[in-house]
């Protein structure tokens, strides 16, 4: 595979040959012009970041390249030859593969079966998923990954699932690999590893396209960056020539912006005063068993005051989801107790609860229902919106319109399904629903995962505003930067146990060890 592109276009001025050239790509969805005459060029042996806000057209452009969509006009050449990428299969044949943000694995199948899905069965008709997937496993070993062949995918952490996706993409001898926001689901350590895989692929001569919106990641790993804004190409430049500030300007299109990635909100935090307050939520020696009876949380104790954000970090699958569900009243403790302002904890009444669940598509929203309906999950229960058992549809609709405006949810019509929205707008619906009721306790799980800068800032602002209003907030996140940025207190949940840390005093090495669950080795003062 390495050097496969060397014989094509030898007269190219640079040493790296052009792998992908998209010219004048236009794509419409109904009246909506998603891509307007976009040009995009990727060379072999480079990591090319495609940057833009949610809805800028990055995914659409890449879906055209990977054959999921066809463009209305425009031309695509691969290694100098005109390519007709009418289907994902055709794109794969042409050496283009995509690793999606939402995985395309069959959850109930084992790793081997998932890897064997794309591979034709042997001629004898005797089928062994292990044998069929053998080359894929070899490929994984080359990247230093050991995949558990006979474990069902649903039992694996997301990071490993993503590796399987990557191996699937590689198994078709892809020359061009597209990654759609690959770091959204990963923790810090996993992101580093992923980047080293990108570099390894670059050495092998692949072109790696990275759809991203985290500037720091782009600056860390990419060679070249192309920025899209509202369906148009804004700029394309080597990463060495740009700063975070220029990228942010290209992306948002405002010259007045100061360094976005570094921007902090007016510091409303007063760390000193919060420690003196009496706790609003007290968690005392709480243990919890999971759905299959396994111990998920081990004697957790912590307290959260009003006007305080308590940040809990850690890798997914260490009891985060269960803790969140416990705090919002969806689970019962096996041992220990929860107190609210030293009284009984009756979620819904005392305190009023706002819950931003981890997975907005799976848990946060009913995606096949309308935007309006999704905004009204709680409102339908309130007496103000009912008249003799019937719903006041008009008032509810007005409420939905108010929320759409107030939370800046960008929709064409509130009657469309939420499935049609970008991730950022979907999350805004969840946030709008939660914050409308002015909850006293907010539990937010990875509230900004997969969101662009604007949407992330919006969610952060909302959390800080709620904090200012007096809410007690438990923020569970895998993004340690987010935690240290927002939280008054921080802790790591690992293996069902909680270790608090002060972000100022803790080295990244120690954090890494904490995340990995080795509390003893980390040089921490509890």
């Amino acid at each position: 595979m390495p050097g496969a592109s060397a014989d094509n276009l030898p007269s190219e001025s640079e040493s790296k040959s052009i792998q992908v050239q998209m010219r004048g790509i236009v794509k419409r969805f109904g009246e909506n012009l998603a891509l307007n005459e976009v040009d995009f060029t990727v060379r072999a042996g480079e990591i090319h970041a495609l940057l833009g806000e949610n809805g800028a057209g990055k995914s659409t452009l890449m879906h055209i390249l990977s054959g999921l969509l066809t463009s209305d006009s425009g031309e695509i050449t691969l290694r100098g030859e005109t390519a007709s990428l009418v289907s994902p299969a055709a794109a794969r044949k042409a050496g283009v593969a995509m690793v999606h943000q939402h995985f395309t694995l069959v959850p109930a199948f084992t790793v081997a079966e998932n890897l064997a899905l794309d591979i034709p069965a042997s001629r004898l008709g005797i089928y062994s998923s292990f044998r069929a997937a053998r080359p894929s496993f070899d490929r994984a070993e080359k990247l230093g990954w050991h995949l558990p062949a006979s474990t069902p995918v649903s039992e694996l952490p997301v990071g490993v699932q993503q590796r399987i996706e990557i191996i699937k993409a590689l198994s078709t001898d892809a020359k061009v690999l597209i990654f759609d926001e690959p770091t959204a689901v990963l923790s810090g350590e996993e992101i580093k590893e992923l980047f080293s895989v990108f570099r390894q692929l670059r050495e092998e001569g692949c072109a790696v396209i990275l759809i991203a919106h985290k500037l720091s990641e782009i600056l860390a790993v990419a060679d070249t960056v192309t920025v899209l804004r509202r369906g148009q190409g804004v700029a394309s430049a080597p990463v060495s020539d740009v700063t975070a500030q220029t990228l942010a300007q290209w992306m948002v299109g405002e010259n007045t912006l100061t360094s976005l990635s570094e921007k902090r909100f007016p510091d409303t935090r007063s760390r000193e005063s919060s420690s003196e307050k009496s706790p609003a939520l007290s968690v005392e020696n709480v243990s919890l068993s999971g759905d299959r009876g396994e111990t998920v949380l081990k004697s957790l104790s912590f307290a959260v005051s009003s006007s305080e954000i308590y940040g809990i970090g850690g890798v997914d699958g260490n009891g985060q989801t269960e803790l969140a569900e416990l705090l919002v009243g969806l689970r019962k403790t096996t041992k220990g107790s929860l107190l609210w302002k030293n009284g009984t904890f009756t979620p819904g009444h005392s305190p009023k609860i706002g819950y931003i669940p981890q997975d907005r598509r799976r848990v946060g929203l009913a995606t096949s229902m309308s935007i309006e309906d999704n905004l009204l999950f709680d409102a339908v229960d309130e007496p103000g919106f009912r008249w003799k058992g019937l719903l006041k549809r008009k008032s509810l609709r007005q409420l939905a319109q108010v929320l759409i405006k107030k939370f800046d949810i960008r929709v064409q019509s509130s009657r469309l399904t939420t499935a049609s929205l970008s991730g950022g707008n979907q999350q805004k619906i969840v946030v709008a629903r939660v914050f409308r009721t002015q909850p006293e306790l907010i539990v937010a799980m990875n509230p900004t995962r997969g969101l662009d800068i604007g949407a992330t800032r919006f969610v952060h602002e909302q959390l800080l505003e709620a904090r200012l209003r007096g809410a007690a907030i438990v923020l569970i996140s895998t993004d340690l930067d987010e935690l240290s940025f927002l939280s008054d207190k921080t802790a790591i949940l690992s293996g069902g146990a909680l270790t608090s840390y002060r972000s100022e005093d803790t080295s990244s090495t120690d954090l890494g060890l904490l995340l990995g669950g080795s509390r003893e080795k980390a040089s921490l003062r509890p």
Partner: protein, 361 residues
């Protein structure tokens, strides 16, 4: 998927409209139908209808497929004869299940059909229920029992044939035991088997008649075969059946059991089944054509009135046919006695199972 429709009425208006609707539909209960007073004058029981003017239309509703080679096929044959002889316009349909009976009868009647032959006793309740809505249509129910305003039963004296079958069975039995297989127990069916027993005892008072075995299914071949096997192993050697498709099970069991030194026999009913096996001694037949065609003729002429006068051997509807290919010959004495009884039945001097004195000419 259709998106939720926009509310078109104001809520209050909608609710009041709907509640009115509900009250009307619920409390307007009970049926207050006007007495059937057709323009052509009311029909009362026993009153003759007028002769048919205009197109003469006849329909047939069968409980099963008309390609069954038996009960339903014979009805279609009758219908075709009516079409040919009387120039009637005819239609027929199969009412596959009970829930479509009424629909089919009503449909023909609503189209002004003069006669609807509803080919089975199971149609009687429905016909009596709807007859008042269609006073110009005559519903004909074979094996029925109730005379309605414009519904007539066709009482079939199959028992006359069964009486002869009993004599034959008693005469042919070597073991001195005979038996019978029926489907569902009903008065009509029980009369058939009673006549069978009477005939047997009349020929040979010492004969043992095993009580009828019922399968509860007119069509189930397997059940009929099992029941027959049980009877044969009990020592019976002649079996009368009164089944539809189930009859095949009886014949199969008999054919399997019969050996040259120990022959066993069956007797057919409802249609001439003699060709099905050489072990069938004879068949007590029903020729529905001989009942349906005269009824149609009288309706056309305007002379018919609903009645329950039975159709027996005299009218030719019921017959008794020996199997010329039967494996065992019958004695001259037996033959003579059966012929004599046949004559008496036709003359009206012998009444198997108390068949009423009145009989069709």
């Amino acid at each position: 998927m259709i998106p939720p429709l926009r509310p078109m009425l104001s809520r209050r208006l909608m609710i009041s409209a709907l509640s009115t609707f509900a009250v009307l539909s619920l409390f307007g209960c009970g049926r207050t139908e006007p007495e059937a007073t057709p323009p052509g004058g009311a029909t009362t029981p026993g009153k003759k209808a007028e002769a048919v003017s205009g197109a003469f239309k006849v329909a047939l509703v069968t409980p099963g497929s008309v390609s069954d080679g038996g009960w339903n096929a014979s009805a279609l044959a009758a219908l075709n004869q009516i079409k040919g002889e009387l120039g009637a316009e005819t239609q027929n349909v199969e009412a596959k299940d009970a829930s479509t009976q009424e629909e089919n009868l009503r449909s023909y009647a609503s189209k002004g059909y003069n006669i609807v032959f509803a080919h089975g006793g199971e149609f009687e309740a429905v016909a009596l229920k709807i007859e008042k809505d269609f006073p110009k249509t005559l519903f004909v129910i074979p094996s029925g029992r109730t005379i309605g305003t414009n519904t007539t039963p066709v009482v079939l004296n199959l028992k006359e044939g069964a009486y002869l079958a009993g004599m034959l069975a008693a005469g042919m039995s070597k073991t001195g035991k005979i038996a019978s297989v029926g489907a569902t127990k009903s008065a009509v069916v029980e009369e058939v088997f009673k006549a069978y027993e009477e005939g047997a005892k009349a020929y040979k008072p010492t004969i043992e008649v095993i009580p009828t075995a019922y399968t509860n299914d007119w069509e189930d071949v397997g059940k009929a075969q099992q029941q027959t096997m049980a009877l044969l192993s009990n020592g019976a050697d002649v079996i009368l059946q009164d089944l539809d498709q189930g009859a095949k099970g009886v014949f199969q069991a008999v054919d399997e059991t019969s050996k040259p030194d120990k022959p066993v026999f069956a007797i057919g009913t409802n249609s001439d089944q003699n060709a099905l096996s050489k072990n069938i001694l004879a068949s007590a037949t029903i020729d529905i054509t001989k009942a349906y065609v005269p009824i149609a003729k009288q309706v056309k002429e305007g002379t018919f009135k609903p009645n329950d006068t039975p159709y027996g051997m005299k009218s030719g509807v019921i017959g008794f046919v020996f199997n010329p290919a039967a494996s065992a010959p019958l004695s001259a004495d037996l033959k003579a006695k059966i012929d004599e009884a046949t004559k008496k039945i036709i003359d009206g001097t012998l009444f198997p199972a108390n068949s009423p004195a009145k009989a069709k000419p």
